[in-house]
């Protein structure tokens, strides 16, 4: 009896093998790992509401380039920090006062590979001779391995880095919500042994909030309702003492939905 049962198992296995060989692959298995990660972003772009097979086709076989920002930046906010970096200013805060980090274009991109973290963009603010002393828009892998399109602003030592971005005038009269999202690079955060990163936000030059990103927070989002509209947003990032605090953030202003 037992032999016949095992023989039936063999026939079942042969049937399953035939099904695998001639059947249609499931959508999840077809998707690339990176696409799986993107698809899991809860506030992802609108196309993620499409059926999975369309996502797959859209990503793999689209005629036009799908830029990282188109893929990763969800919604249509009034303003997004990563889109405004060209007009921004960056300083390193030293004991002698703020030292400006110049905006440089057509810079070489070095490195890449596992454990390397985010790659620098060719246009970026340069804050010293160290290869990692840059501020710019990149794609950083968060602790859940998902991609985040964000502004890499990593203080390499105890000297804080400050970025000031201007908010365009037309939106200054609308009631808005400021959304601030931030992460550390996967390998820097996953051991959960690093010091927190302190972030000081200022609106129109006045202190607005002091927040901390701690290991284990992952991609953390803060939201504020703004009654009076600011003209600038200042983001000052301070390394509280641990190496490899690869902080990366993005912010949006969204028009508030009227009840």
């Amino acid at each position: 009896m037992a032999l016949w049962i095992v023989a039936l198992v063999a026939l079942l296995e042969l049937g399953l093998l035939a099904k695998q060989s001639f059947g249609v692959p499931s959508e999840a298995s077809l998707r690339h790992r990176a696409q799986e990660m993107v698809a899991q972003i809860p506030d992802g772009p609108a196309w993620q509401n499409m059926p999975r097979w369309q996502q797959t086709l859209t990503l793999s076989y689209a005629d036009q380039a799908i830029t990282p920002s188109r893929l990763l930046d969800s919604g249509r906010p009034l303003w997004r920090a990563s889109d405004s970096i060209v007009g921004a200013q960056v300083w390193q805060i030293t004991a002698e006062g703020p030292m400006a980090c110049p905006w440089q274009t057509q810079q070489a991109v070095l490195g890449g590979g596992l454990g390397f973290g985010a790659l620098a963009p060719t246009s970026r603010f340069v804050c010293g001779a160290h290869p990692a002393a840059w501020v710019g828009t990149t794609i950083e892998e968060d602790v859940t391995l998902r991609p985040r399109h964000c502004i890499h602003q990593q203080p390499l030592d105890s000297r804080p880095l400050r970025m000031q971005v201007s908010l365009p005038a037309p939106i200054a009269h609308k009631a808005t919500t400021l959304t601030f999202g931030a992460t550390l690079y996967y390998e820097d955060e996953r051991q959960r042994t690093g010091a927190p990163v302190r972030i000081d936000l200022a609106l129109s030059g006045r202190p607005h909030a002091q927040i901390h990103h701690r290991d284990g927070d992952g991609y953390r989002v803060w939201r504020w309702h703004l009654k009076s509209m600011p003209s600038t947003l200042d983001v000052t990032v301070t390394n509280m003492g641990a190496p490899r605090r690869s902080f990366c953030w993005n912010a949006t202003l969204d028009e508030e939905v009227q009840p």
């Binding site: 037992a2 095992v6 990176a34 490195g111 890449g112």
Partner: protein, 537 residues
Amino acid sequence: MMQAPVSTTREQWLSALGLVLLTVVLLVSTHSAIGIPRDESFYIEAARVYGRWFALLFNQPTQALSDAAIVHSWSFNSEHPPFVKSLFAWCWLIEARWHVFGSERLACRFAPMVLHSVAVGLVYLWGTQSQCRRVGWFAALFYLLLPRVFYHAHLACFDVPIASMVLISAYAYWRSLTRTRWVWCFGIVFGLTLATKHNSWLVPPVLMVHWLIWARHTPTTRRANWFWSMLIVSVCVFYLSWPLLWVRPIEHLRWYARFHMQHEYYNMAYWGVNYFKPPFPKSYPWVMTGFTVPMTSLALGVMGLIYAIRRSVRVDAHASTFALWTGLALVPLLVYLLPHTPIFGGTKHWFPAYPFFSLCAGSAFDRLCARAALGPWVGALEHRRKVGLALAAGLLLLPASIETWRGRRFGLSYYNALAGGTRGAADKGMNRTFWGVHAVNLAPYLRRRLPLGGRIWLGDTTQQAWQLLQAEGLVPRTIIPAGNLADADVILVDEEHHFAEVHYQAWQVIGDTRPDHVLTFDGVPIVTVYFNPHPQR
């Protein structure tokens, strides 16, 4: 009481030899499509370094045996003992001198292939000697047709050789319990096992427990000759096989042990989670075995294991053998229940369990046949009964044969029907590949995409592996590895969970998220390739 092993007949020797030859032919004929994984590229380099030292030993022995020469040569890849790498080195020397193999890759792979083939033959012999030919034949073919083992058996690595050496050691131990001359043999073989890989450290505790149980039921043969042989002969063989120990033995042994006790942890995906440090899930080795051994084989193996456990506790002639098989089949998996045991590449680290799992499966098959009502179906005649048994064995091994053949190029991505195949495993978030082994499978795409040559970001593939493939003409010589990702014309990304960041780096560089080409197995992406239209040079 333990049954004395029956003497081996000429027919049994010939059958074992036939299995060895069949396995060697199968492995050699299917090896060329299998790329060079990271670790193999380092071991091939070790073969070169050790081979040059052996050549020096012949030509200028005094110089070769100087401390400086020994340390210079044998410090390379010294985290692993040298027995199997020395075999690679000898074959590498033969290739360099006489071009027997046709490539460095096959030269270095030949010794592990032979070791695996010997193991297949020995499984047959042990099953036949301890029980009957039916057990031997079925167990040997069962072992040969394990897809992941078959894949790894091609590689110049240690995972299959250590499985073979543990099997040979266990067999020698088993024979030594009744024949004195096998005591010496066991000492030598176990010394070489120690010199193969550190998985060998698990063997003495199993043998010790087995011997204590066996000696209790065998009052006339209580002497633990095998134990003294292990302590003296094995240790001497281990020492002699590793020239680095001739210079600073204690210091290096301490370093070797510490290296593996405090090994860094690697990334491994399991049910959608990327694990990178302990504690690893306790279910890992059991679920992965359940997902990577063909379903019918798994059913037979589990039945055989249960049968072997039940037979182990009986006091009869076979109990001792079953107890030994059970212990050696379970301990390599049980060790993963310890809190700090690293899980590296997964299944390959408990390959030493599989020969014993196969022997248990062979016993289960024998048991099933003995109890099956085959008579009315095939008639009472003996030859018809044999045909019936062969058909039954063929049916039970057919799925494994198909899966082993289908998975021969993508063995690391193989999952059984229980997991839903490779697709089902991908859906479940299991590891799809590792070791950066598939660059060779991208050769047609690369020739088409970069006809005039260019630069490639190799992903997880090593530059040494790429150069070896170039030397064989398997990938274009005009395509050279890029030092920076932004310099590359094409960027390879292995589809492992923790490699997601390299996708994002590629997106950053090319400003587009669409891949140019995707290498798939069963429709599942294994390597994604991005094309960079504006490389930075």
